[in-house]
Structures are given as structure tokens and as C-alpha cells.
Subunit: 184 residues, 4 copies
């Protein structure tokens, strides 16, 4: 997705964080490339492929400018995937990167961030550049080589680009209207 048209991703709505010292906002990560892995703990594709890949990115490139964040987007089997179950899952699978719980919706099964970002399901992978713009949005298994190239391209971009806050707001607004949805 071209950087000039890529929308800002609006912030997540998170009810609880794991592996952080306190609440994390998307804007806290500005200046770093951000990999967001939206998953469910009982989603086989997430467990066998998506989460291990996210963990590898965190382990190898976490210290080199890539922030990895998991987002637990429960849209089915809600009773089996509450925060307590997620905590056990994170412990058993030794996940070390920050993981937030997407806030349930009062109106239906789709949690709030998942709905706002118009995710198609889990696993979904989102990649943001250092300015917070959405540059990759992929639903399903993501090829490791492809992800590596995308991360490398964003890492190579200059750190210190000036962001115009008013422009951010406009982008975020556009995104709420659906323009940030997917690149598919």
C-alpha cells in the first residue's frame, strides 16, 4: 500500500494488557515499525503459524525497531476465551510480546477494535510504518519471506519524518469510514 494514500490506523480498544507494565497506545509506538497480530487462542492457524511467526519477529527484530503487539479478538466461543484462559495460554506458549484483549461489543460477537478495523477474521496481520500508517493488512497465513520483505522495506524508511497531527486526524477519520479496511 503506497505510503501517500495509506491511512493512519485508529487506536485499539483494549480492556486488559498482558506483558506490559501499563496500558499501551498505538501512538506510543510511533517511530517504530509495528506488527499487530490479531488472533484467538483457539484458532488453529493462529497457534500453529501466526503466533510463532510474530514471536520470531519480536525475538529477532524487537531490538531493532520493530514493535510486535498481539490483539486477542474473540468473536466466537467467548466463554472459552476469557482473559483468565488467555493468561494461561500466554503462560503455556511462553509468549513474551505485549498482548491486549480487544473490548467486547455490547451489540454482537465482534469485539470493538476488530469491527472498527474491519478485520475479516483471525489470524490477521497488520503492519504499520514508523508514522503509524497502515501498510499491510493480511487475513490468513502470511508467508514468512513476504512478511520479512515488508518489514525490511518499512525499517529502511527514515525515522524522523515529521507528522502533521491534523493530517493524522483526517486520516483516522477516513479510516473509521472504512478506507483503512484491507488491502485485499
Amino acid at each position: 500500500m503506497n505510503e501517500h494514500v495509506a491511512p493512519m490506523l485508529p487506536d485499539w480498544q483494549v480492556s486488559r494488557w498482558f506483558n506490559t507494565e501499563g496500558p499501551l497506545r498505538l501512538s506510543d509506538l510511533r517511530g517504530r515499525v509495528v506488527l499487530i497480530h490479531a488472533f484467538q487462542m483457539l484458532c488453529p492457524g493462529c497457534v500453529s503459524h501466526g503466533l510463532p511467526l510474530a514471536a520470531r519477529v519480536h525475538q529477532r527484530f524487537g531490538g531493532e525497531g520493530v514493535a510486535v503487539v498481539g490483539l486477542h479478538c474473540v468473536f466466537e466461543h467467548h466463554e472459552a476465551m476469557g482473559p483468565q484462559a488467555l493468561q494461561a495460554f500466554i503462560h503455556e506458549y511462553r509468549l513474551r510480546f505485549p498482548i491486549g484483549v480487544d473490548v467486547p461489543s455490547p451489540d454482537g460477537p465482534i469485539p470493538q477494535t476488530m469491527a472498527q478495523w474491519r478485520l475479516q477474521g483471525t489470524p490477521s496481520t497488520l503492519l504499520l510504518d514508523r508514522q503509524g500508517r497502515l501498510r499491510l493488512h493480511h487475513f490468513g497465513a502470511l508467508d514468512e519471506l513476504h512478511l520479512g520483505v515488508a518489514i525490511g522495506q518499512l525499517l529502511a524508511q527514515p525515522h524522523a519524518a515529521v507528522i502533521d497531527p491534523s493530517r493524522n486526524e483526517a486520516d483516522a477519520g477516513a479510516c473509521t469510514d472504512g478506507a483503512c479496511a484491507t488491502s485485499q
Copy 2:
């Protein structure tokens, strides 16, 4: 484990069954080779290796004399692995073979069958011959080739061996005293 000294495995204690029409007893499977896979739904080794292998045995040899049974032996994170969570897990991972829930113990974290059979943890694989005698007991990842050879050896044994019920009882008793524990 030599067939002449192999003990009978005493029956499981199961509080709830999935993928069966009714309660299943070990003695119902007499005449077939029985593969029991003791697992926990949040045990990474079970999810990545043990359960897929059990499912393959069920799929390929279920119609040729091998009965595959899963036993959910929850000894940690009990609150995250209740029957409702297990039901969602079975659905998402498309497990088709009978799975029973090991009855929790009133005295501690180890469920009753797990304690009686002296399982060391999950995944544990038990293999019984057509007479119900314990012939293989393995804790941890079990090599596919090794499991295949063991199953083949038991399948090759005669179907119609006469079982002396009184002898079964004696064997079962011996096993309760610990003789059936492990082959390790």
C-alpha cells in the same frame, strides 16, 4: 513390554464424553488395539504433535482395528480448561475421535485417572493390545515411525484370544499397585 507380564489397564474415570453416543468403557474396546492420548488443550506439545498424530491414526487405522481415545487430563489451569472450553477446542481443531474428561480429584490438581494410571504429564500415549493389556506407555513426543511399528505389532496379534476374566481382575489389581506405571 512383553505381553506375558503386561498388566491390564484399569478403566478410566470420565465425567463427560465428546464424539460418542454414550459413555465408553475400556472393556467396550476389547478385541481392538487401543491408542489412548492423554492431553490438555493448553499443552503446546499436545496441540502441535500429539493430537495431530492421534487424529492421523484414527483416520487411517480407525477402520482397521485401532480405537483412538483422547483423555483430557487437566492438572493445571483448571479454570481455563473446563468442559465448555474443551468443547470449543474440539470443534475448532476438528477432532473426530472419542474424547473423555478425566474426573477431577477432590484432593488436589491431578485428576483421578491420571493419578491411578500414574501418568507423568501430558502428552502421554498408552497403547493396549486386543486383550486390554498395557503394551506401551510414553510421556512426551512420540516418534511417528515408532508408534506405527508398535501399532503394527499389536494389530498382527490374533483377534480371538480367549480372555480369562479372573485373570483380568488380578492384572488390574496389580496395576493399581503400580506395576503398570510406565515403561520408561
Copy 3:
């Protein structure tokens, strides 16, 4: 393949042996279960799947009654797969089990044993019981679990079955006429 109709496999024709102290005859292996892996050193499926599986069987069950033998059946690219090239290949891939070179045919590309046994190509896997009867013949990738079960079934058969030599000859003859071809 039922043991009562399974033909004896006629002996291989081998021009050179590797990993043996001298020429090996099929009859030398009588009393053991025999796994024959027919391969070519430039056959991708052999290199990635068949040979590693044969090596695992050799390593784990070579001491328990299973003889593993490789047969280099070159039917294409003859100039690139001569004995000297094979020797380098065996060295680099650290293959430890006996490997024979199927004798080239004066009349065409198919070597002599491959023609006599009517192999469809490489990799081909043949499994013989302790009496030398062909019990499994598979062309293409062979599932590890399936191979394990087949080996286990043959290992479980009695060692000391009396073989009627006249019957063997008849079987071998039948096989030369093509009856032993494949179980597919």
C-alpha cells in the same frame, strides 16, 4: 498383500555395493523383515523424503530385525549418476545402510532389477516378510505412519516359519512373470 498369495521377490542384480563387506544376496536376509528403497540420487522425492525415512528405519529398527537396503535404479541422466557420483552422494548424505547399483540394461534405459521387479519409478519402496515374500510395493512418497504399521505387522510374525523351497521357486517364477508387480 495377503501372505498366502504374496510372491517371493527374485534376487536383485547388482554391479557394485556400498556400505557392505561384500556382495549381498536377498536370501542372506531371510529371517529378517526387509525394506528395499529403490532410488536415484537426482530424484528430489527420494532425497527429501524416501532416503531420510529409510535411514530412520535403519537407525531405529536395524538392530531389531529390519534390514534396510538401498537400490540405485538409474533410468535417466545415466551419465550424471554413475557409481563414482553415487559414492560422493552417499558420503555427503551420510547414508549408512547397504546400497547396491542396479545393473544397467544393454537394451534400454531401465536397469535390470528395476525391469524384472516392474518398478514404476523412483522412489519405490518394497517390504518383504521374514520369508522373503513381497508384502508391500509402493511407488511415490510413503507415509511414515503407514510404513511403521506395515513393518510392525511383519515384525510380529513368527521367526521360524518353515519355508518349502519348492514353493518358493514357484512363487519366484510367478513373480518373474509379473504377478509380483505392485499392490497398487
Copy 4:
């Protein structure tokens, strides 16, 4: 390796090309990111890991500015890995990217380009930026994610950077003296 100190890689010495219409020079690829995979056809690590990864890069990013080139650097078993054998290998493994044969040395087993580039063995992976500077030099298995990130970083660099030919020569000279050897 920092771009300001990265040396130019001197051209390869190739006796024969496969999968090209004519001889290929390193300078022909200027403007593209170049992945060079130095291998031997009887090197297990090359066959199982390095070549498939190079083929994936060629397939997915060949049309997006990445040139993949194989270099057959035979330094052992020369008699088994001649050009005719390599041709059969390329055919059987369905390799589609350009592959050159490193020119044998009159003085010893190490071929000429391998010696000049001071490769430690096979597989070796070299990555050049659009200006032909050596940016990654790795001996052994290379992690797919790591390679992807490195390629992405180089792809993100501007296409049209002006190259000062005199500077190139100086760099090439330095490299001949050994400065380009390895980043290890």
C-alpha cells in the same frame, strides 16, 4: 554492513551458464537487488534449504527488482559434479533462475570466484544492493525471515543513485585485497 563502507563485489568467473540466453555479468544487474546463492549440487544443506529459499525469492520477488543468481562452486567431489551432472540436477529440481559454473582453479580444489570472494563453503548467500555493493555475506543456513528483512531494506533504497565509476574501481580493488570477504 553499512552502505558507506560496503565494498563492491568483483565480478564472478563463470565457465558456463544455465537458464540464461548468454553470459551474465554482475554489472548487468546494477539497479536491482542481487541475491547470489553459492552452492554444490551434492551439498545437503544447499539442496534442502538454500536452493528452495533462493527459488522462492526468485519466484516471488524476481519481478519486483530482485535478481537471483546461483553459482556452482565445486570444491570437492569434482568428478561427480561436472556441468553435465549439474544440468541434470537443474532439470530434476526445476530450478529456473540463472546458474553459473564457477571456473575451476588450475592450482587446487577451490574454484576461482569462490577463492576471490573468500567464501567459507556452501551454502553461502551474498546480497548486493542496487549499486552492486556487498551488504550481506552468510555461510550456512540463512533464516528466511532474516533474509526477507535484508532484501526489503535494500529494495527500499532509491533506484537512481548515481554511481561514480572511479569509486567502484577503488572498491573493487579493496575487495580483491580481502576487505569484502565476510561479515562474520
